[in-house]
C-alpha cells in the first residue's frame, strides 16, 4: 500500500495503462543518447572523482571513495610479518567465494592443482546469487556469436578490449553447456530448447534464465560442486595483502580471520582475484543493490602489487532500484520485468523512454524526469495484461514474493524507482588468459575491467564470471605446474608506502576496507 501522496500519480498511471500497452516509445539515435548521458548520467559529472597520485594509473580519475582506499595505509606492518613459515601452501589461491571464484576453483581442481579458496564470508555469499534476470549466450537459432559481440561492444561505448569481448561471446555458449552438465536447471520449453528473452540493448533474444532466480540457481550449484569436490575453503577470512616472489610475480596472500583478527600466510604458485565489485562504497552517496561485502578489496590489493586498472571510473547505475518503501531502498528490480513488457512511466502516466534502451541511457532518462519534478514508476501490471494473467507469478516469482512482504502487489500496483549503484564496469586489466599485468596474478568477474567498456549489458555479468572464472582457474593451474622454488617478499608494500610518502599523502584510514 502506498501513502496518500502518491494517489494522484497511481490513478493517472492506471488510467493510461490501456493506451501504454500498445505504445512503444521509439529508440533513440546515437547522438541523442550521447547528449542525454552527458547531461544526466552520474558518471559524466565531475564532482565525486579524484585523480590517483601514485601507482600504475597515476593521474587517472577514479571515484573519490575508491581513491581514498587506494591511497590509504596498509593494515599490516610489513616489517613485522614472518614470511618464512606459511600457514597454507597451495598451487592455486583463490581470493573470493562468489561465482567467478567458485568457477575458477572447480576448473583449477579439475586440472589437477591443489586449490585453496579464501572468502570474507561463506562461500556463495556474493552478488552472484542476487543476479536475477539471466545469462547471455548466443544459443538462439536466429542469433550468432557475432551479434553478441557487436551488442556488447557497442553498448559499452566502443572502448572495451575487443579480444575480451570476442572471448566472452565465443565462450558463453560453452559456459551454458558446462553449467548444464553441473546440473544448473535453466528454463526450457517442451522441446527441451532454452527459453530466451531480450534485455535492454540486445538485438536478439539471448537471455537464458531460471525464472528471476538465475544467479541463485548458478551459485548454489557451483557451491555444491565446490564442496562435493572437497576443495579446501577458508571462510570468514579476508585477504589483506598480496605477497610476491623475488621476480615480482604473485605468490600468495596474507589473510585475516574476520572473527578473531588472526593473520595467516598463504603461499601459492598462482593467485586468482575474484573479489567482486565496489558497490558498498556507495559512490556519491548513492544507494546500492550490492552485497555488503563489495568494498573493492581486490582493486586495492592488486594495485599495491603493481597491477593496472582499466576504466576504473566507470560504474553502472541500474535504472530500476527501489525507492519506496524506504527499507528496500536501492534493492534491485530485475531488468527481466522490462524484458517481459513492463514500462517506465512518469507521475503523469506518460512513457518517456523505450524501456529496453541500454542501462546507462535508461538511468539518465529517469534522472532527467526527477530533475523536471516528476517521479518515475515501473508499471509492472502491464506484464500480465500483455502476456496473460499469471505471467508475473511464473516468471518473476522472487520479485513478487519480495514485494508481497513489503505490502505491494506487483500484479496490481506499479513500483516507484530510482537508479541504484549496481556494477563496477571497469577494474583490473586482464588479458585473454585472465592474467593481470602482474605475472601469476589472475583475475575474474566484476573485479576486472576491459570486457564491458563503460556500460554492461544485462546477462553479461553471469556470462563473464563463468567464462573468465573458468579461464582464470585453468590458466592458474597450468602456471602453477611451471613454477618452483620461489621466495616470498613484501617489498612491494614498502615500495608503495614510500611512493605515498614521496607524494606527501597522509591517510587516516587503512585498506582494504573489508566491511
Amino acid at each position: 500500500m502506498y501513502p496518500e501522496k502518491y494517489k494522484t500519480a497511481l490513478a493517472l498511471i492506471e488510467s493510461k495503462r490501456e493506451n501504454n500497452l500498445s505504445f512503444d516509445f521509439p529508440k533513440m539515435g546515437e547522438k541523442e543518447k550521447e547528449e542525454l548521458l552527458r547531461e544526466f548520467h552520474p558518471e559524466y559529472k565531475n564532482e565525486g572523482y579524484s585523480v590517483l597520485r601514485v601507482g600504475s594509473n597515476i593521474n587517472e580519475k577514479v571515484p573519490t571513495e575508491l581513491a581514498r582506499l587506494i591511497e590509504a595505509n596498509t593494515i599490516i606492518n610489513e616489517s613485522e610479518i614472518d614470511l618464512s613459515s606459511p600457514d597454507y601452501d597451495t598451487d592455486v589461491l583463490i581470493i573470493g567465494g562468489g561465482g567467478a571464484g567458485a568457477a575458477a576453483a572447480i576448473e583449477a581442481h579439475n586440472a589437477g592443482a591443489s586449490v585453496l579458496i579464501v572468502t570474507k564470508f561463506r562461500i556463495g555469499d556474493s552478488n552472484t546469487l542476487m543476479a536475477k534476470g539471466g545469462m547471455q549466450a548466443s544459443v538462439g537459432v536466429d542469433d550468432s556469436i557475432g551479434e553478441h559481440f557487436l551488442d556488447t561492444y557497442g553498448a559499452g561505448g566502443f572502448c572495451a578490449y575487443r579480444e575480451l569481448v570476442k572471448k566472452l561471446a565465443l565462450e558463453a555458449p560453452d559456459a551454458i553447456e558446462w553449467l548444464g552438465s553441473l546440473g544448473v536447471d535453466f528454463d526450457t520449453d517442451n522441446n527441451g530448447a532454452p527459453i530466451l528473452t531480450s534485455g535492454g540493448g540486445t538485438t536478439k533474444k539471448r537471455m537464458l534464465a531460471k525464472a528471476d532466480l538465475t544467479g541463485l540457481e548458478i551459485m548454489r550449484t557451483l557451491k555444491d560442486e565446490v564442496r562435493g569436490l572437497g576443495i579446501k575453503t577458508v571462510c570468514f577470512s579476508a585477504a589483506i595483502e598480496l605477497v610476491l616472489d623475488e621476480n615480482n610475480c604473485a605468490a600468495g596472500a596474507i589473510i585475516k580471520n574476520m572473527e578473531n583478527g588472526k593473520l595467516s600466510l598463504v603461499r601459492a604458485k598462482a593467485t586468482v582475484i575474484a573479489t567482486g565489485g565496489a558497490g558498498s562504497l556507495k559512490f556519491g552517496g548513492s544507494p546500492t543493490s550490492n552485497h555488503m561485502g563489495t568494498t573493492g578489496d581486490g582493486l586495492v590489493l592488486a594495485y599495491r602489487a603493481g597491477a593496472k586498472l582499466k576504466d576504473a571510473a566507470s560504474n553502472q547505475y541500474h535504472p530500476t532500484g527501489v525507492l519506496y518503501p524506504k527499507d528496500a531502498e536501492g534493492a534491485l528490480i530485475s531488468e527481466k520485468a522490462r524484458a517481459l513488457g513492463a514500462k517506465l512511466v512518469n507521475s503523469y502516466g506518460d512513457v518517456f523512454i523505450n524501456s529496453l534502451e541500454t542501462r546507462d541511457v535508461v538511468s539518465a532518462a529517469i534522472i532527467r524526469e526527477y530533475a523536471c519534478g516528476r517521479e518515475v514508476w515501473l508499471d509492472t501490471p502491464i506484464i500480465d495484461k500483455l502476456l496473460g494473467e499469471g505471467t508475473i507469478a511464473e516468471n518473476l516469482p522472487g520479485m513478487k514474493e519480495s514485494f508481497e512482504r513489503l505490502g505491494i502487489d506487483i500484479t496490481k500496483e506499479p513500483l516507484l524507482v530510482y537508479p541504484t549503484l549496481h556494477y563496477q564496469n571497469g577494474g583490473l586489466l586482464i588479458d585473454i588468459n585472465a592474467e593481470t599485468s602482474v605475472k601469476d596474478l589472475f583475475a575474474a568477474g566484476e573485479v576486472t575491467g576491459g570486457i564491458h567498456g563503460k556500460n554492461r549489458l544485462m546477462g553479461n555479468s553471469l556470462a563473464d564470471i563463468i567464462v573468465f572464472g573458468r579461464t582464470a582457474g585453468k590458466n592458474a593451474a597450468q602456471r602453477s605446474k611451471e613454477k618452483n622454488n620461489f621466495k616470498l617478499t613484501l617489498d612491494h608494500v614498502k615500495k608503495y608506502n614510500d611512493e605515498l610518502s614521496k607524494a606527501r599523502i597522509i591517510s587516516d584510514i587503512a585498506s582494504p576496507k573489508l566491511i
Binding site: K27, M28, G29, E30, K31, F121, R122, D125, N127, L129, M130, A137, S138, V139, D143, S144, I145, G146, E147, F149, L150, Y153, G154, F158, E163, A169, L170, I176, E177, G180, S181, L182, G183, V184, D185, T188, P194, G201, T203, A211, L213, L216, E217, R220, T221, D224, R227, G228, L229, F236, M258, H291, M292, K326, D327, A331, C372, P397, E401, R405
Partner: protein, 211 residues
Amino acid sequence: MLKITLLGCEYEVPEGITVSDAFEYAGIKTFHGKGCKNGFCGACAVLYRTQKDSTVKACLACQTMAEDGMCVASIPGFETENSRYSSSRYDTLLSLYLEINSCIGCGICTKLCPKGIDTKKLVNYARSGDTALAAKISASCIMCGACAEKCPKGIKPYSLGMFSRRFEGSKKSLKNNSIKGLIDKLADMSDEELKMLYSKSIGGKNVSRKI
C-alpha cells in the same frame, strides 16, 4: 520506539525497521548474520516468536519488520555436508540420504522455512522419485539450513532440494550449437565501421524532444 529481545537481551529500537536493522541499531555485531540485505544469501536467517504467536518460527532478518515484544535468536548456519554424488543418477540420492525414509511428516521443517517452501512435501517428492516436482517447489531455496535444524530424524530437506534441482538440470543437457556468424570479420573491423553497423542494428533515430 518498540521493545525487542535480541539474543536474550532487550533493546529499544525505532518502529518501521527490519529485524536486521534492529540488530545494527542495537549495536550488536552481526558479522555472520548479515550479507546481501536482499533476501537471497540466507546469512541472516533467525528464529523468532511474537507476543501474539508464541510458536517459534524462522525468517530472514533483512526481510522481516521488527515488532514490539518480538524475541529473536540467530541461527548459527548449517553448512551442507560435503557429499560427492553423481547428479545424473537418482539412486545416489537414496544411498546418500538414507534418513529420508524415516520422515514422520511432523512438518516442523515447513514451519521453519523462511522462504515459505513446503519442505515436508519436498521430502515426500524426493523420496517417491518425483524430483521434477521437488526441484520446482524448492526453486527459491536459499540453502540457509533452517529446515534441517529441528528435524527429529536428521533429514536435510535443503540437500534433497539441491540434489533434485541438479538431477533435473543434468537431464536437460544443453549442447552448444551456436552459430559463429561474422565474429572473425567483425573483430577485425575499425571502430568507425562497427559504430555504423551498431547503430543500424539497434535502429534508433535522433529526435529533438521537449522535456
